[in-house]
Symmetry: C2
Subunit: 328 residues, 2 copies
C-alpha cells in the first residue's frame, strides 16, 4: 500500500544547551535546516523545568513545520564534565541546579524519541565535521576558544569519546609544567594561557605590572580588558598586544603540534569568540606551528577557522541524532 504524500515527514532536532541560552534547530535527513529558535536557559530553575521549556519550544517548532512533520530523533550537547556514556550530568558550573541529572533520558521521555547526548564541544566538532570546515576529511581536531578551550577529535570518521566519554579535553593539556594555575586544578594547561579569557588576563597582568601599552586606558575606563581589546590594539600597533598575541598563538601552535603527533589530523579547526581576531591570529598560529614542528617529514595538516559559526552545535547534535536513528 502506497500512502504517497500522506507519509510523515521525518525531522531531526539539534539542541545546544548553554548556561544562558538553549539553541534549537530542526533539520531534514540531509541536515538542511528547516527552522530554529533560541530560548533563555533560566539556569536557576530545576532541571525538569529546563527540560520542559526546551521540549515545549521544540514541539512548537516541529508543529510549525506542518501537520505531517514528525520528530524522528534529537541530539543535545551540554557543558562537561559529565558521564556521557551513562547519560548523566553530575555537576556543571553553568547549570548549578543540574546534579546527577539523566538529561537525555528525561528529554527522551518528554519527546517520545531517542536522544543522543555529548559534550558541547564534541557536538560542535561533529557539526563542523559533517557540514563545515572538516566535511571533506576523515581525521580532524576542533578547538573552540572562549572562556575556556573546548575540543573535539574525529579519528577515521568517528568522534573520539574515550573510556569514560571525556576524551578531547585538550585545553587541559599541560605544556608549561608548574606554570599558570588553571581553573581545573592543574598548572600549565594551554587553557590557562591561550583561551580568550586567559589572553585578556595576561594583558591585564602585564599592564598592572607597569608595562607600557595603549591598552592601559581601556583598563582604566572599563575596569577590564577583553581579548577583543587586545586584537584591536594589536591592529593599532601596540607592542604589548603584539607580545600577548604571539604568546597565545605559540601556545595554540604547540597544542597543534602535540595533536599532530597524537591523532594525526588532516585538518585542525579553530572556532569560538576569539577567531573574530581574524587572519592575524591564524597567521601567527601557522607561523609558530612551522617554528615548533619536527623536521623528520614534511607535514601537510591544514590549520583553519570553522565555517558554521554559532550553528555548529545544533547541526552536530542533529547529525548525532541521525546516527542514533540509523542504528536503532
Amino acid at each position: 500500500m502506497n500512502r504517497g504524500s500522506k507519509m510523515a515527514r521525518q525531522v531531526l532536532a539539534g539542541i545546544d544547551l548553554g548556561g544562558t541560552n538553549i539553541k534549537i534547530g530542526c533539520f531534514d535527513g540531509q541536515l538542511r535546516i528547516l527552522a530554529k529558535d533560541s530560548v533563555p536557559t533560566e539556569a536557576h530553575m530545576s532541571p525538569q523545568t529546563v527540560v520542559d521549556r526546551l521540549a515545549d519550544a521544540l514541539v512548537c517548532l516541529v508543529r510549525g513545520l506542518g501537520e505531517d512533520a514528525r520528530l524522528l530523533a534529537a541530539g543535545i550537547g551540554s557543558p562537561g564534565p559529565a558521564d556521557y556514556k551513562r547519560g548523566i550530568i553530575f555537576a556543571c558550573a553553568n547549570l548549578p541546579t543540574f546534579k546527577d541529572v539523566p538529561l537525555p533520558q528525561m528529554l527522551s521521555s518528554r519527546l517520545g524519541c531517542p536522544v543522543a547526548f555529548d559534550n558541547d564541544a564534541n557536538v560542535a566538532c561533529y557539526g563542523e565535521f559533517v557540514a563545515g570546515a572538516g566535511r571533506d576529511v576523515q581525521d580532524m581536531v576542533f578547538f573552540t576558544l572562549g572562556t575556556g578551550i573546548g575540543c573535539g577529535i574525529v579519528s577515521n570518521g568517528r568522534l573520539v569519546q574515550g573510556a569514560t566519554g571525556n576524551a578531547a579535553e585538550v585545553g587541559h593539556m599541560i605544556i608549561f609544567p608548574g606554570g599558570r594555575q588553571c581553573n581545573c586544578g592543574q598548572r600549565g594547561c594551554v587553557e590557562a594561557y591561550a583561551s580568550a579569557s586567559a589572553t585578556a588576563r595576561r594583558a591585564m597582568e602585564a599592564i598592572q605590572a607597569g608595562q607600557p601599552s595603549s591598552l592601559r586606558s581601556v583598563l582604566e575606563v572599563k575596569g577590564q580588558i577583553t581579548s577583543k581589546d587586545v586584537y584591536e590594539h594589536l591592529a593599532l600597533g601596540d607592542q604589548l598586544a603584539q607580545r600577548i598575541t604571539d604568546e597565545t598563538a605559540r601556545a595554540l601552535a604547540i597544542m597543534c603540534v602535540n595533536m599532530l603527533h597524537t591523532t594525526d589530523p588532516a585538518r585542525i579547526v579553530f572556532s569560538g569568540g576569539m577567531i573574530a581576531a581574524g587572519q592575524v591570529l591564524l597567521d601567527r598560529i601557522r607561523y609558530y606551528f612551522q617554528q615548533e614542528i619536527w623536521r623528520l617529514k614534511k607535514e601537510t595538516v591544514q590549520i583553519v577557522f570553522a565555517s558554521l559559526g554559532e550553528d555548529a552545535g545544533i547541526i552536530g547534535a542533529a547529525a548525532m541524532a541521525r546516527d542514533l536513528a540509523g542504528r536503532s
Copy 2:
C-alpha cells in the same frame, strides 16, 4: 565434498622488523604461538635481500608446522616514519638501504598472501591490546621506553592511525617549550627527557657538570652511563639517581595526563627496556600523575607495565594479519 582431515591448517605470521634482528612468529587463529624464530636483519643489504631472507625463514618455519600448514596472512611492523597508508618505507635510520621501499607489497608477492603493515610501536601496542595488558579494555595508550619513546593508541577497540598513518608519535609531544633539543628537530619533546637514552644522558651531563654521585665511577670506568646504571644506583641510595628518576617519572606522568585529556584511555601501558627499573619507576610515575592531574573529577585510568615482553610485536603483527584476512 568434505575433505576432512586433509583440510589445510591455516597459519598467521607476525613479523617484527628491527635494525638488528627480525623476529618471526607463527600463530593459530586464536593467536596461540606455534613457532618462532629470529634472524639477523643485515641492514646493510638491499631491501630485496632482507625481504628474501625474512620470507625464507618464515616459509621454513611454516613448513616445520607440518604438511597441512598454509600461510593465510602475515603482518609486519617496522620503524617509522613511513607512508603506512600506501605501504612505503621512505627512509629509516636503522634500515639505511630502505628508500621508498614498498615493503608489504614485496613481502606479499614473495609469500603469496596478504600482508598488513604498521609502525613497530603500533604493532606492539596492538599485541598488548589483543593479548596482553590491555586485553580487557577498549581504550588504551601504550608507550615503549627505549632509545626513543614509541607509542600506540587504541580508541574504542581500534588502533588510531591518523590521516597519514603517523598517529601516536606521542614521544614527540612538546611539554617543555624551548627545552632540550630532540633528534626529531623539535625542542622540549618528552622523548628528549624521559626515554631510556635521555635519562642516561641527563645523568651523564649532571656528573660532567660536577654534581656528586656514586655514578661518577661508572662513567669513569665505562665511559658512559645507561638508564640501568641510574636505577641500580637509585636502589643504592644515590641522590643524583633519585633526582634523575624523578624528572623522568614526572615527564612521563605529564605525558599520561595529556593523553588522559586527549583519548581518555582506561589503561596506560608502559613497555620497553626501561621498565626493567621495576616498581620504583611505576610508583614514581603514578605519584607524579596524582600531583599533576586536574581536580574536576576523580580519574580511574590505570597506569601499568606491559605483560607480553618482547613477543608483543609478533603477536600484534599476527593480530593485524588476522584482521586483514577477516576483511578480505
